[in-house]
């Protein structure tokens, strides 16, 4: 990064160094001495961010240590870790934890494999101008409103009227119960999530493929490398960091996956598609059990912090590369 902006990182220690460069003689006056202005630029924003994001997270931790209902906040009783203990015996919470993990593993695996295939197809066609139009259309699912994705899923997966069962019937298949069946409900959510997010993974991998230097590929071809050599020795290793990034960013999204499940299965049938976000939401705003809800929120928070630590590192590394 220092190669792009040589000035910013310089603390008082570096002044001697910069002063030795004749061009930068006025630097101390030009680039600093404005504590007040710097503060004015940065502090309102940081304060806003503190109040609207950091404070709620900390307050969640505090609430999770109390027995408290949303409808009677003033009657707060210290609970210690009791809320967490009760989560461990709550079948719904354990199901939510399992389902979130299951959704993460299954959807991200499918998305990476499928995404690579899609990226490779678009990569091979990249020299054509009109392919840009196809790419725009292809990535529509990742941009459209998630709640609409859920609504569309309700429409096409509808057991009687839904177009998918109609098409299955026309092809001689038997109708599938989709959201109504314990197993199919999970498959439905997986399909929706894969439909929605494969474009994201594919476009990331495509960007990675495009950044492979052409001369390396040419050299390999001249040396007689076949397509599988190029695929396994050059392309896949080159996009591996990008795939890592995609996996991390997708993990973050899975941890906040809410809209689609809320509008389709609402966690059912039973607890088969319950996820952590929906569990937390229901505890907070349907049962008003803010203590339990906050304990679940803290679990999500901890998982997110673990994922985020990796994410920040990988983002910085890729950006600086």
């Amino acid at each position: 990064m220092s190669s792009i902006d040589p000035f910013v990182e310089r603390g008082p220690k570096a002044t001697a160094l910069s002063a030795s460069a004749p061009m930068r003689r006025h630097q101390p006056r030009l680039w600093s001495g404005d504590r007040f202005q710097t503060g004015l630029f940065l502090w309102p924003t940081c304060l806003f961010l503190l109040v609207l994001t950091l404070f709620p997270f900390i307050y969640s931790v505090w609430l999770s240590l109390h027995f408290v209902r949303l409808t009677a906040l003033h009657r707060k009783v210290w609970a210690g870790l009791d809320n967490y203990a009760s989560l461990l015996t709550d079948q719904m919470f354990l199901a939510a934890l399992r389902n979130t993990a299951l959704l993460a593993v299954s959807s991200i695996t499918v998305e990476v494999v499928l995404g690579f295939a899609v990226a490779k197809v678009f990569y091979e066609l990249a020299s054509r101008k009109w392919v840009n139009g196809l790419r725009s259309a292809y990535l529509v699912p990742m941009m459209i409103t998630p709640i609409s994705v859920g609504v569309i899923a309700n429409y096409v997966f509808n057991p009687q009227l839904g177009v998918i069962n109609q098409l299955l019937g026309a092809a001689g298949g038997s109708p599938v119960p989709w959201f109504g069946d314990p197993v199919w409900a999970r498959i439905s959510i997986l399909l929706i999530s894969v439909w929605q997010w494969t474009p994201f993974v594919a476009m990331l991998i495509l960007a990675g493929l495009m950044s492979i230097r052409k001369d390396i590929l040419e050299a390999a071809r001249v040396d007689g490398a076949r397509w599988w050599h190029i695929l396994f020795r050059i392309e896949i290793p080159s996009v591996l960091p990008i795939i890592m990034l995609a996996v991390i960013l997708r993990l973050i999204e899975v941890l906040r996956y809410f809209d689609v499940i809320y509008i389709t299965t609402r966690g059912g049938p039973g607890d088969r598609t319950m996820v952590l976000t929906l569990f937390t939401y229901q505890q907070d705003f349907q049962y008003f059990q803010v203590g339990t809800g906050s304990a679940a929120a803290v679990v999500i928070l901890i998982l997110s912090i673990i994922v985020t630590t990796f994410a920040v590192r990988i983002l910085r590394r890729i950006e600086n590369a």
Binding site: D5, F7, V8, R10, G11, L30, D34, Q37, F41, L42, T45, F48, L49, L52, T53, F55, P56, S60, L63, L73, F122, L125, L134, S136, Y138, P141, M143, T145, S148, V151, A153, N154, Y155, V156, Q166, W195, M203, L204, L206, I242, L249, R256, F258, D259, Y262, I263, T280, Y281, D284, F285, G293, V298, I300, L301, S304, T308, V312, L315, I318, E319
Partner: protein
């Protein structure tokens, strides 16, 4: 690159197939917006509707115009607030000398990754304590807050590309930092800033969960209204289809016109497309 005609056709077929899978469900729903209630539940389905039938849109607009307006107000308000707060901070972090710059930047980036659900109950309590619960300003504040990290982080990458010589020259001419920001940095990164603002607009337009518990009957945004269409009672698929078209129009336009920026935007600028 030499390739046979056959593999060319196969690649094209594959690309068309993937694209079709991507857009078919949305297109199918969009067709429904032009169907009558009866056509919507007909078996076998009506494949091609009468495109001169616009009554679903008309009904929806007359009945739910206040909610569409709520959505627009909240989205525009949040975008504006997020940009006003993000630009000076991004400029300070990218150009000015700030102690602990990297730590602050990392903290901002990590708040982007935090799941909003973990802040749900506290935000609800906070806004009800200050009497803002159920109001549009509450949603503007919350949406801006959760989009601020994105706006700051990506704006930083644009400000870093402003030539240092220009900033130095402006400072030598006696510009205050505020003038450097408004007269040098922002004009020079205008297209980048517009991209950031468009992203924030779409994120805010798509937001659902925050609106679900922050809004009341009068302040419901359009996504909340759409979610209420799918209930236990009778489901009016024709209206739902029209509502989906209205709701998805901005993001679809965004995908078409901003395609080049989407990858870098969704990875916080880490991956250049």
């Amino acid at each position: 690159m030499r390739r046979s005609r056959i593999s060319d056709v196969a690649l094209l077929a594959a690309a068309l197939f993937f694209t079709l899978i991507s857009i078919a469900p949305l297109l199918w729903m969009a067709l429904g917006a032009f169907k009558t209630t009866a056509e919507m539940i007909a078996i076998p389905p009506v494949w091609v509707p009468d495109f001169t039938y616009w009554s679903n849109f008309a009904t929806l607009f007359t009945k739910y115009w206040p909610n569409i307006a709520n959505s627009l107000i909240v989205t525009l308000g949040a975008t504006l607030l997020a940009m006003i707060l993000a630009l000076p901070a991004a400029f300070a972090l990218s150009t000015m000398r700030v102690r602990g710059r990297n730590a602050i930047a990392d903290w901002i980036l990590s708040t982007r990754m935090m799941p909003p659900i973990a802040a749900a109950a506290p935000l609800f309590i906070l806004f009800s304590a200050v009497g803002l619960l159920g109001s549009l300003p509450a949603m503007v504040l919350a949406y801006a807050g959760f989009n601020l990290p994105f706006a700051i982080w990506v704006s930083m990458s644009f400000f870093r590309q402003v030539p240092k010589e220009l900033i130095e020259a402006a400072r030598l001419e006696g510009c205050s930092w505020f003038q450097v920001l408004t007269r040098v940095a922002i004009p020079l990164s205008l297209s980048g800033i517009a991209t950031v603002a468009t992203f924030v607009f779409i994120f805010a337009w798509n937001e659902f969960m925050l609106a679900l518990f922050l809004s009341n009957r009068g302040s419901q945004t359009f996504p909340v209204v759409i979610s209420s269409f799918i209930g236990t009672g009778r489901i009016y698929w024709d209206y739902i289809a029209a509502a989906t078209v209205i709701q998805c129009l901005p993001p679809v336009l965004f995908a078409v016109f901003m395609q080049r920026h989407i990858v870098s935007g969704m990875t916080m600028g880490a991956v250049k497309d």
